[in-house]
Each structure stands twice: as structure tokens, then as C-alpha cells.
């Protein structure tokens, strides 16, 4: 049994806002839902499955399903941080394949920017019952310094440099310049990245993604429903998900869960990295991208720095155009959870609806990857492979 060919992404919508001080979080969820449903040519009364994560206010799916007036026979609130929404697409396909729903709505929204969250540098606060809390919280792990530790080790073990990491941001900025909604539209150089203020060694400000408000939504449907819709046919080919954990103290920060989620997705799709025409790679930080590229098999372990420094991520220039909306590094990382926008841009590319300056020619196979949690401790990796039919 497989999800290959069992579901289609019929609707995709990214909220245009990046600062939503005039909207509530629930309202943002409902607005992106409406946008994605209209994109699909469906209405909220067609929805019978709903997927959301920790950014949805209330108990699991209940408050948002209530706000939107949905009538549901399937829900899934798998919360793995930013990777949740990539997983939701796969889980929606699983439910659809089993006949548990036929129109699945997935929403994400939040307002960390309007609410003044010091996302990257504020030490994490955890409930006492979390078993690792007492052994981590006293040391003030924040988001940025956890990822920074992975970067330091990668540099030590493989000779990766800050200049190489900077190429990830440079590539994203080359794409963002064409996105009128992107938070940061200025093209930057490697020098500008490495000269930006150091946040936590070795990550500079420009190695870190934006903090933005907004959100996005997806509508995943059965083949039967897709037959009646007019949107380009974006088919699910394969998916994989795996956590990477601390292994009881056998810590190795040089690889991510993509070493498991990637091969699983490729195996299900019957494809290889060389078949991918466009990739949305979770870009919370530049190091996240470099390590993920290695783990997905786009280059050898330890060669990620070299791969990106050759300009390979730049559309029209390199072998693996990535994050052509500008990614989390330049465009949008709404609610501090970037997985939704990763899938949305992959859908745009497959539909031929990316900006003409960054649209990949004959983009018929794309990959979207999410990394949720922390590279420095425990995270969830989720890989999705999509095709245009």
C-alpha cells in the first residue's frame, strides 16, 4: 500500500501579510483557509478533514473547526513544529487513500512579529514534566544557539565556512527580489551576510530566518474530487517522516532526520535526488539547509557548503533551484513555522505559477522538506515529493 497517486494538492494560499497587528490569529487561520479553498474552486462545506498544529488556538482542532463551521469526519493535529504541515499533507493523503475523508484542509497562522516574540534569542521555557527540561533549561538554550551548535560542529568536522553558509541566504535573496510580499527583498552578497551582526557564533543575523506574521493553507483532495476541479494537477508521489533525537547521550549534531525521511519519500515515489527539478528546503537558518541537502542526498555528507557556494540553489544558475519565493530567510516564516510556505512554493513551481524570473522550466517533480524542533536537540524531519500530472 502506498500514498503515491492517491491524493492531489488542489488549493494553496499564502497570506499576503507579514505584520498582522490588525488581525487575530483565528481570523488569519480562517482567511488562509478561505484563500486556499477559493484557489481550489471548493467551499468550506466541501471540507471533511481538518489538519492543524500548535499554532491553532484552542484544544487541538476544535476552536478553529468551530470558528470555520466545518463538518468533519477526520482530524489530525500532529504537531512537530515547523515540519507539521509537510507531515499533514502526507497524513491527509493517507486518510484520503483509506476513504476517511476526501477534502482535507490544512491551516497555519500566527503573529510572532506583532506580539514581539524574541524568537531566536529568548531562552526556552518548558513545563516541569518535560523529562529533558531540568537538564537543558538551566543552560539557556534558545532557538538560534541550538542551531549554531550544529553549525559549529559541522565547521569543525567538515571545514564548512561562514562564507559557504552565506550562499544559502544569497540565493534566497536573489529569488526574494521578485516577490512583492517578501519581508526582505534586497539582494545581499556573501560579504554582507558574514559582516552582519553575530547573533550566536557562528550564526550572523543574515544566517537567520525572518520573524513574520501571517500564514498559509492547503487543500488536499481525492482523485475523484480532483477530476472535477480546474486547477493544475499536483499529485503526491511520496512522503517520509522521522524524528532525530538525542540517542541517550550519543549526540551527533552533524546530520538531521532527513537521512531517514528523504530515502523513505524517494523510495515511495520511485525517484532519486537527480530527478528533483525544484526543492523547498526548510530554511530556519542557513545551516539547516546545508545539512538537509547532504542528508537528502543532493550532495555527499560534509560537501553541503561547497554545493551551495557553487550557486547551485539559484534558479536559472544552479542544479537545484530552491525556495524561489525567498524562503524563510527572506520572504516569510509565519508563526515561526516554515513548513507550510515550503509546500506552497513547491505547488506554485509545479503549476508554473512562480514568478517568471524564478520559474523552473518544465518543473514536473518537486520536493518540499520540513525540519521542526531543534537541530541542537530533538527535531522532526518530513519530506514530500510531488509531481505535475
Amino acid at each position: 500500500m502506498t500514498i503515491k497517486g492517491k491524493a492531489y494538492i488542489a488549493g494553496a494560499f499564502e497570506h499576503p501579510t507579514r505584520k498582522a497587528d490588525d488581525k487575530s490569529v483565528a481570523q488569519l487561520h480562517a482567511e488562509v483557509a478561505k484563500g486556499a479553498l477559493e484557489d481550489a474552486g471548493l467551499t468550506k462545506n466541501d471540507v471533511d478533514g481538518y489538519f492543524c498544529a500548535g499554532d491553532a488556538p484552542g484544544l487541538g482542532p476544535l476552536s478553529m473547526a468551530d470558528y470555520m463551521g466545518l463538518k468533519l469526519r477526520h482530524v489530525d493535529t500532529t504537531d512537530t513544529g515547523g515540519s507539521s504541515y509537510v507531515i499533514h499533507v502526507a497524513h491527509a493523503a493517507e486518510a484520503i487513500a483509506l476513504g476517511k475523508c476526501s477534502v482535507a484542509l490544512i491551516t497555519l497562522a500566527g503573529r510572532p512579529r506583532s506580539e514581539g516574540q524574541a524568537t531566536g534569542t529568548a531562552p526556552r521555557v518548558l513545563p516541569a514534566a518535560v523529562p529533558d527540561a531540568a537538564f537543558e533549561v538551566p543552560y539557556a538554550p534558545a532557538t538560534a544557539n541550538m542551531y549554531a551548535m550544529a553549525a559549529m560542529r559541522h565547521m569543525h568536522q567538515f571545514g564548512t565556512t561562514s562564507a559557504q553558509l552565506a550562499w544559502v541566504k544569497v540565493a534566497a535573496s536573489q529569488h526574494a527580489q521578485y516577490n512583492p510580499h517578501a519581508m526582505l527583498r534586497e539582494v545581499v552578497t556573501v560579504e554582507e551576510v558574514v559582516n552582519s551582526p553575530m547573533i550566536t557564533d557562528p550564526l550572523h543575523r543574515l544566517d537567520c530566518c525572518v520573524i513574520s506574521d501571517g500564514g498559509g493553507a492547503l487543500v488536499v483532495v481525492s482523485p475523484e474530487v480532483m477530476r472535477h476541479l480546474r486547477r493544475p494537477r499536483v499529485k503526491l508521489l511520496g512522503a517520509g517522516e522521522a524524528p532525530k533525537l538525542q540517542l541517550g547521550g550519543k549526540v551527533d549534531l552533524t546530520y538531521t532526520g532527513a537521512v531517514w525521511s528523504g530515502p523513505a519519500a524517494f523510495a515511495e515515489a520511485g525517484l532519486k535526488p537527480a530527478d528533483i527539478k525544484y526543492a523547498s528546503i526548510y530554511d530556519s537558518f542557513t545551516i539547516t539547509v546545508v545539512m538537509t541537502l547532504e542528508d537528502l542526498g543532493f550532495c555527499e555528507k560534509g560537501q553541503g557548503g561547497k554545493f551551495v557556494a557553487e550557486g547551485n540553489l539559484i534558479s536559472g544558475v544552479g542544479r537545484l533551484p530552491f525556495n524561489t519565493d525567498g524562503g524563510g530567510l527572506c520572504n516569510n516564516h509565519p508563526a515561526n513555522r516554515g513548513g507550510m510556505t515550503k509546500v506552497i512554493e513547491a505547488v506554485r513551481q509545479l503549476r508554473g505559477e512562480a514568478h517568471p524570473k524564478v520559474q523552473v522550466k518544465n518543473c514536473d517533480v518537486a520536493l518540499a522538506h520540513g525540519t521542526g524542533g531543534s537541530l541542537g536537540t530533538r527535531h522532526m524531519s518530513s519530506t514530500l515529493i510531488l509531481g505535475r500530472e
Binding site: 527540561a133 538551566p138 539557556a140 534558545a142 551548535m149 551582526p197 550519543k250 549534531l253
Partner: protein
């Protein structure tokens, strides 16, 4: 040169399962859990071994010596500090801070030894300083 400054350390929550660890810390001793079934130490301490699933785990003293596996200096805060992972002589790699040193002199592979620092209203917390 950026000297590590004394940072207010949030008190760790002591749970029934982990009380011996914090009792030892209050006496300046580092102890880690060891599984008598599969003979592997682990950290953070659990009652059930994360490798073989046995509940035959026991506390053993650790030497307090280790080497720095990785670190990062958080700069964009009023008091810069070094978060790190230290690989203990006994095997496990544990999250910690590097203290009592010049932050800019910290290096991966550096030999360190455990020191216990007071927390705000809680037990002392193990950290590491250059050996």
C-alpha cells in the same frame, strides 16, 4: 576578550525520578545513570534505559572530566554566555554551559571539568570550566 559573566541560572525542576541527581549536585558530585542490563550509560537520566528498555538502571559517579563537543556564544543578550555539549569521559554527551573562562578562548576538543553553580532557588547545576 569576553569573560564569562555570572548569569542568573533558572532553577531546574526536581522530579521524583531525578532527585538523586540533584541531591548529588548539592554535594558537588556528578552522577549519571548506567544500565546494568546492557552496560551503557545514558544522559539525561531516566528510570528506563533508552537503549535496551530495561528498568535495571542505577546511578554511578562520573569523574567530572570531559571534552567540548561543540559550543556557541550567545552574543545578542546583556550577558553573553556559552552553551555547549561536553562529552564526558564515561561516554554520554551532555548539554551545559562553559564558565569561568574567556568565552573567546573556548575551542571544540578542549578539556574541561565539572563545576557546580547556584541556581535561583534550586539545587546547584553542573557546568564546565577549562581543566
Amino acid at each position: 576578550m569576553a569573560m564569562a559573566q555570572a548569569r542568573k541560572i533558572q532553577a531546574p525542576q526536581v522530579l521524583p525520578e531525578t532527585k538523586p541527581f540533584w541531591d548529588a549536585a548539592a554535594q558537588g558530585r556528578l552522577i549519571i545513570k548506567h544500565c546494568t542490563a546492557c552496560h551503557q550509560p545514558h544522559h539525561y537520566p531516566r528510570s528506563i534505559c533508552p537503549f535496551c528498555g530495561s528498568d535495571a538502571t542505577e546511578w554511578r559517579p562520573a569523574s567530572g572530566r570531559g571534552t567540548i563537543y561543540t559550543y556557541s556564544i550567545m552574543r545578542r543578550v546583556p550577558e553573553p554566555y556559552a552553551i555547549a555539549y561536553v562529552t564526558l569521559e564515561e561516554g554520554p554527551t551532555i548539554m551545559t554551559n562553559i564558565v569561568d573562562c574567556d568565552l573567546d578562548a573556548i575551542r571544540i576538543g578542549q578539556a574541561v571539568r565539572v563545576v557546580f553553580k547556584p541556581s535561583e532557588g534550586g539545587p546547584p547545576v553542573p557546568m564546565f570550566a577549562p581543566a
